[in-house]
């Protein structure tokens, strides 16, 4: 069996590639949206820390509204059809000891994912969000399968 390539996704980055990859990332209050195209058997994933870009700093994908839009555009650019795409959402925990906790950032991060995907008409076929634990996920971009376990990090 050929070895599948691995990629570690940092917060604020996006990964989408037509070739099979195992993309892993660790989420606290951050959220990762995995988009999978079962027709072309490929996928992409983002990892954002805040929900909305408010015009300060760079318009980077550390903000949900930018990260989701950019990931979606990347999938289309790779040849996916919007109607084929499926989504999985992870993260958005309210991790204790995190000062951002006060602003329910995890919850808001999830909300933007659900609302934007609804607007884009992309079905959310699985999600595991909220709670008090961080998550580590591994997304197989060829099969669309996500392995997840809870961690005490972030």
């Amino acid at each position: 069996m050929p070895l599948i390539k691995e990629h570690y996704l940092y917060g604020g980055a996006i990964f989408a590639d037509p070739h099979p990859y195992i993309v892993s990332t660790v989420l606290g209050s951050c959220v990762a949206v995995c988009l999978y195209d079962p027709v072309n058997r490929m996928g992409g994933i983002n990892h954002y820390q805040l929900d909305l870009w408010n015009g300060t700093g760079l318009a980077s994908p550390k903000f949900g509204n930018i990260a989701i839009q950019k990931l979606f555009e990347k999938m289309l650019k790779m040849g996916s059809r919007q109607s084929d795409l499926q989504a999985k959402i992870f993260g958005g925990a309210s991790v204790i000891g995190n000062s951002q906790n006060l602003f329910q950032i995890g919850e808001r991060n999830c909300e933007i994912a659900f609302s934007m995907l609804k607007e884009l008409n992309i079905p959310i076929i699985a999600s595991d969000v909220g709670g008090n634990h961080g998550r580590k996920i591994k997304f197989n971009t060829e099969t669309g399968i996500v392995l997840m376990k809870y961690v005490n990090k972030k």
Partner: protein
């Protein structure tokens, strides 16, 4: 039908009115916030569309100079060595500037596209800092600014100090801070660089004694395309991307950036970066109860 007393009715009406008023007040508050954000977003977009004309000078001027000097050198075969070496130095200075500006612009584009990847390795920080300072020497010389370097890192058994991080990112951060210090610190004649290891964090401090930044503008300078002096009277080079790139890159390395500055009292940027963890990429998921498949 249940009988309702007038008193009860009045109270209920009052309660509902109050609730309504509260909701309206809250809505107004949200609306105001939206208006502010809207303004900010359209400002930012306007700045972005001005970007090309903004960077025109930054890119065009060095390029024109390089072409001009090279053309002169090509068309003249009777130039003495001294002139040739002087002109080569000019070409180098212009090309260096162009290279530096473009690196920052590309870094900003990569950050906005979500395509920042870290390349973690063991980095000889002392060598990196000195090499960067050396590469900016010609600009400092021109502006008559002396760069004082004070690097005090623990040696490891006679070996140079190595820090696990992304060397290119550290270079990007440091060169932008240094370039700013030279550009905006020129009313005085020195820049102080201090590099230390504090609580296992790499601390780089860049201090100039120039025009400084008003406290009210401290947040603003990290926005993209923002330079505090702009328009036709703009006295400083640059495209206003440097500090926003610096801030975002430091965030990627999970570090912090502190700014101490007041108008006319110089600028002190302090970067603190934790050592990067070796990625536990090959740690596979154990088949414990905790694991789930989606």
């Amino acid at each position: 039908m249940q009988h309702i007393s007038d008193d009860f009715l009045l109270q209920e009406l009052k309660r509902r009115f109050e609730e309504n008023n509260r909701t309206i007040a809250e809505l107004n508050e949200v609306k105001e916030k939206l208006l502010i954000i809207n303004q900010k977003l359209s400002d930012s977009e306007a700045l972005k569309s001005n970007f090309l004309s903004n960077i025109r000078n930054e890119i065009n001027n060095p390029l024109t100079a390089i072409l001009g000097i090279a053309q002169y050198l090509m068309g003249n075969n009777k130039i003495d060595t001294k002139t040739v070496s002087e002109m080569t130095r000019m070409i180098y200075a212009e090309a260096f500037n162009l290279d530096f500006q473009l690196r920052t612009i590309f870094a900003a584009a990569e950050i906005e596209a979500g395509e920042v990847y870290l390349h973690i390795s063991k980095v000889d920080i002392t060598e990196l800092i000195l090499r960067t300072v050396q590469s900016f020497k010609h600009i400092a010389l021109k502006k008559q600014v002396e760069i004082k370097c004070d690097i005090n890192l623990p040696e490891q058994q006679g070996q140079p100090f190595l820090f696990t991080t992304d060397s290119e990112k550290i270079h990007l951060i440091f060169s932008n801070l240094l370039s700013n210090a030279i550009e905006y610190g020129q009313t005085s004649d020195k820049i102080d660089i201090k590099v230390r290891l504090q609580n296992n964090n790499l601390c780089i401090s860049v201090k100039d004694y120039g025009i400084g930044i008003d406290k009210a503008d401290h947040e603003k300078i990290f926005d993209r395309f923002v330079q505090l002096d702009h328009g036709l009277t703009k006295a400083h080079q640059g495209h206003g991307l440097g500090l926003s790139v610096v801030k975002n890159t430091i965030e990627f390395l999970e570090g912090t950036l502190t700014l101490e500055s007041e108008k006319n009292k110089g600028c002190h940027f302090l970067v603190s970066i934790p050592e990067a963890q070796a990625l536990d990429n090959d740690e596979s998921f154990s088949l414990d109860a905790n694991e789930e498949l989606f």
